[in-house]
């Protein structure tokens, strides 16, 4: 983390230390309303996803074809039932597990791999050109089409969707990291560290990497949000999560034909997805304001 950002946080906590906990929280919320709202919503969604089996009264895979098809929301089916007579509420809650897993895993993988590639490329000039050409090549292929290609190549499953959505994101992260590195390494203190005889690894991890954190955290939330949306888009195109797995994307894809006759099938997973993506984006925006990149620039 950049020194300035750390300073600011220290300053905040120093100020906050004199206040009682609830006042500190109120203060934080007042200062970062979007971030707080995002964090709260994501916390609720993750809680619901983790405790899905205890929250949902019904089994999401249980069929009731003969008597339970397309029932509107009621006491029995809180969010109505789909064309197989499955409980939309149970599926929406279990679906969150899949969609969140996709979003978070893709973000984590893309950021980690992209960070490594970007650091190497930005600092080790000998391989920069090579790595960047490969990254450029990957990035040049439209992401969704690349993902469709991978999904066709690999055995259908949620792992495949994760891989397919991660690969197109890596070059974007790598480029971002490399950009920060290229600028940072020209900065006096890094040059000083090199002059002082610090090893490459030390320079990279100690002096350069921290500068990438602020933009990376923001980028990670963006990747996470877009991965969840892409998962839905791929399902819609019939080339994503296999339809037998209940993710918000597959539920919406399956329910789109019932848009006007049984709206609840597409409405609830759609709302869940939009709410989740919205809160993740809010967190991203909030973090960006909190870790104001201006400080990084001024270092």
């Amino acid at each position: 983390m950049s020194t300035a950002a750390v300073n600011e946080m220290e300053f905040e906590s120093a100020e906050a230390a004199v206040l009682p906990l609830h006042r500190r929280i109120v203060e934080f919320v007042r200062r970062n309303p979007n971030l707080s709202l995002g964090l709260l919503m994501v916390a609720i969604i993750i809680f619901v996803a983790i405790f899905a089996p205890w929250i949902a009264a019904k089994d999401p895979a249980e069929l009731n074809v003969v008597t339970g098809r397309l029932k509107p929301p009621s006491e029995e089916y809180w969010f109505g039932s789909d064309r197989f007579g499955r409980d939309v509420f149970a599926r929406a809650i279990f679906g969150g597990r899949i969609s969140l897993t996709v979003g978070i895993t893709v973000a984590a993988l893309a950021v980690f791999i992209g960070l490594m590639v970007g650091l190497l490329s930005g600092y080790v000039r000998q391989i920069d050109a090579w790595l960047m050409r490969i990254m450029d090549g990957l990035m040049a292929i439209p992401g969704l089409l690349l993902a469709i290609g991978f999904i066709a190549l690999l055995p259908a499953g949620i792992e495949t969707v994760i891989i397919a959505l991660t690969i197109p994101e890596i070059p974007r992260v790598a480029r971002l990291v490399r950009g920060v590195v290229v600028v940072t390494r020209e900065i006096t203190y890094v040059e000083a560290a090199v002059a002082a005889g610090a090893g490459t690894a030390r320079v990279i991890f100690k002096h350069i990497m921290p500068n990438t954190f602020a933009p990376l955290i923001v980028q990670a939330t963006f990747v996470c949000a877009s991965a969840m949306l892409s998962e839905a888009a791929l399902s819609f195109l019939g080339a994503g999560t296999p339809p037998e797995i209940p993710s918000w994307g597959t539920m919406m894809a399956d329910g789109r034909s019932y848009l006007s006759s049984a709206t609840w099938i597409i409405l609830f997973p759609g709302l869940f997805l939009a709410a989740t993506v919205l809160s993740v984006n809010l967190i991203g925006d909030g973090l960006r304001d909190l870790l104001d990149p201006r400080f990084a620039k001024e270092v």
Binding site: L63, V65, V66, R69, F84, A152, P155, A156, S257, L259
Partner: protein, 533 residues
């Protein structure tokens, strides 16, 4: 001008032009009265003898004509033929062409064209074409208007084979029929009621046709694919629309006149629309469950029979259609529209008994392995497989259900690898749907194969020589009574050895604007006799 006012005035200008445009645009997007515009699926292959999916057949019925056709009662009627006669021992058919038949390029249709076309068609990959070739000794030109078909031996269903309810042998000019069958023709000159307009063809977007003015329709009223093919519109526009919801929306706004098949899920939206009529125009489909006979547990007959007890056609068909009016349960492997339909030995398929299924599965050697179920494409096959998987779970069987696209599914289904050892490549159960192959040439002829011993032959690799023998006997039967007897016998064998399972018939209605009249029911969408008021 400041940037802000520039932005503002540009936005204003855009908004205004849109408003002005709206009035004229709304009128333009409705097809004119002499143009029939319908939404269909994408078509890849236009060559009628080559292969490809069902849409090739839609194309064929517009541009090409054939010698014979089926009427509503599934009786063969002459179409391009004026008359036909058999010799005494039924080994030689003589066909005379109708006078005045012309190709779209103005050339007359000659016997030589028909002979060359039949030859090219018989080299194709279609099931009936294969039977045709098997029984053909020679096809010869007698004179300009006469040809003969000589058989190797008398064959009871020869008329049905040469007519072929699916992909009938399209007659194309001799010069084109010389193209090797592994190469697609690029000139789509036919002699059918519509002329294809290659300049307006955009693959994946549209195929346009115009009325063939020189077409001479028969005088009989249209009946199924037989009878007079009178065209009442000047232009026929086939718009390719991939998404179901988009197709339905376009019909409701009048941008198109007709949808070939209404998706079951969207039926409700159209039922309440006063401008739209729903009517079944095509024969239905049936769900098929293929079973891999090579790998445990389904290498054991009992495990396969367990599936018969497990499946409820009612439940499956409800999941697919959601409306009893759109489906029909059927005990017969011959499909219920067939004159050979019978309920012999059909107790297991007509009754659901989970306990019995569990018992048979156990006796069949099921020992806890995960059963690999996969399926391609459509919503209907997905529903079918979902219900099957849920029922398997109910009787304590572990299931992995995978939906995949057609390419991947076709690649996987030919894999003979043991699914218990390689669950990603091999498979236990493959769910598919086929056209309800109408009465006389049942699906059985193509799909039912017993020659799968030693991993050869058809997917599923059924190994039962009784099937092959009975099929030959069926084809050679001298009388209808004898054939019915063999049909029942064959059904018994099918329900004993279970090469695959039929899960009942379902259909999709066509939907059209209320000003469209005269649509004819047929095995494939046909657009003669239809008009707009």
């Amino acid at each position: 001008m400041s940037k802000r006012s520039l932005v503002f005035s540009l936005a204003l200008a855009m908004g205004f032009s849109v408003l002005v445009a709206s009035g004229s645009a709304l009128a333009q997007r409705i097809p004119p009265k002499d143009t029939l515009r319908f939404a269909g699926f994408s078509v890849k292959v236009l060559d009628p003898h080559f292969g490809g999916g069902g849409s090739t057949e839609f194309f064929q019925y517009k541009v090409y004509d054939s010698l014979f056709a089926f009427d509503e009662n599934m009786v063969v009627q002459p179409q391009m033929a004026e008359k036909f006669t058999w010799n005494a021992d039924k080994t030689k058919l003589t066909v005379t062409l109708r006078p005045g038949l012309k190709f779209h390029d103005g050339q007359p249709v000659r016997a030589a064209d028909a002979v060359a076309s039949l030859k090219r068609w018989s080299n194709g990959r279609r099931g009936t074409a294969r039977i045709f070739k098997q029984f053909t000794k020679s096809i010869d030109v007698v004179d300009d208007k006469t040809l003969t078909w000589t058989l190797t031996e008398p064959f009871g269903m020869s008329m049905e084979v040469i007519t072929s309810v699916r992909y009938p042998p399209a007659i194309i000019p001799e010069r084109l029929a010389k193209t090797p069958r592994n190469k697609q023709i690029k000139d789509f000159t036919g002699s059918g009621p519509y002329v294809f307009l290659p300049d307006e063809y955009v693959p994946g977007k549209q195929l346009h046709f115009k009325k063939f003015e020189d077409y001479v329709p028969r005088s009989e009223p249209p009946s199924f694919t037989a009878g007079g093919k009178k065209v009442h519109v000047k232009k026929l526009e086939w718009k390719i629309m991939k998404d179901d919801a988009t197709r339905v929306a376009a019909l409701r706004t009048g941008e198109i006149d007709l949808i070939q098949e209404v998706p079951h899920a969207l039926r409700k939206d159209l039922l309440t629309d006063p401008n739209v009529v729903l009517k079944p125009l095509r024969t239905g489909r049936q769900g098929l469950i293929f079973i891999n006979h090579l790998a445990p547990p389904f290498d054991n007959k009992k495990a396969r029979q367990a599936l018969l007890w497990l499946i409820s056609q009612d439940e499956t068909l409800t999941a697919i259609t959601g409306d009893p009016a759109l489906y029909q349960t059927c005990p017969s492997v011959w499909t219920c529209a067939s004159p050979y339909a019978t309920d012999v030995a059909s107790e297991a398929i007509m009754k659901q008994d989970l306990e019995k299924a569990r018992q048979l599965m156990k006796e069949g050697g099921y020992n806890g392995q995960t059963i690999q179920v996969f399926q391609a494409g459509s919503t209907a096959t997905f529903s079918n497989a979902t219900v099957l998987a849920a029922n398997l779970r109910k009787i304590g069987v572990k299931v992995q259900h995978q939906a995949m696209n057609r390419g991947a599914a076709i690649a996987r289904r030919k894999n003979t690898v043991d699914p218990n050892k390689d669950p990603k490549k091999g498979w236990h159960i493959y769910v598919q749907a086929t056209q309800e192959v109408t009465p006389s040439i049942p699906a059985l002829m193509g799909l039912l194969q017993g020659d799968g011993c030693n991993k050869k032959g058809f997917y599923g690799w059924t190994c039962d020589e009784r099937i092959g023998k009975l099929k030959v006997a069926f084809g050679q039967a001298k009388s209808e009574a004898e054939r019915k007897k063999i049909a029942a016998e064959l059904q018994k064998v099918v329900y004993d050895t279970v090469p695959y399972i039929q899960t009942g018939l379902y259909s999709n209605e066509a939907a059209y604007r209320s000003n469209v009249k005269g649509a004819v029911r047929a095995p494939s969408p046909i657009y003669w006799n239809i008009r707009k008021e």
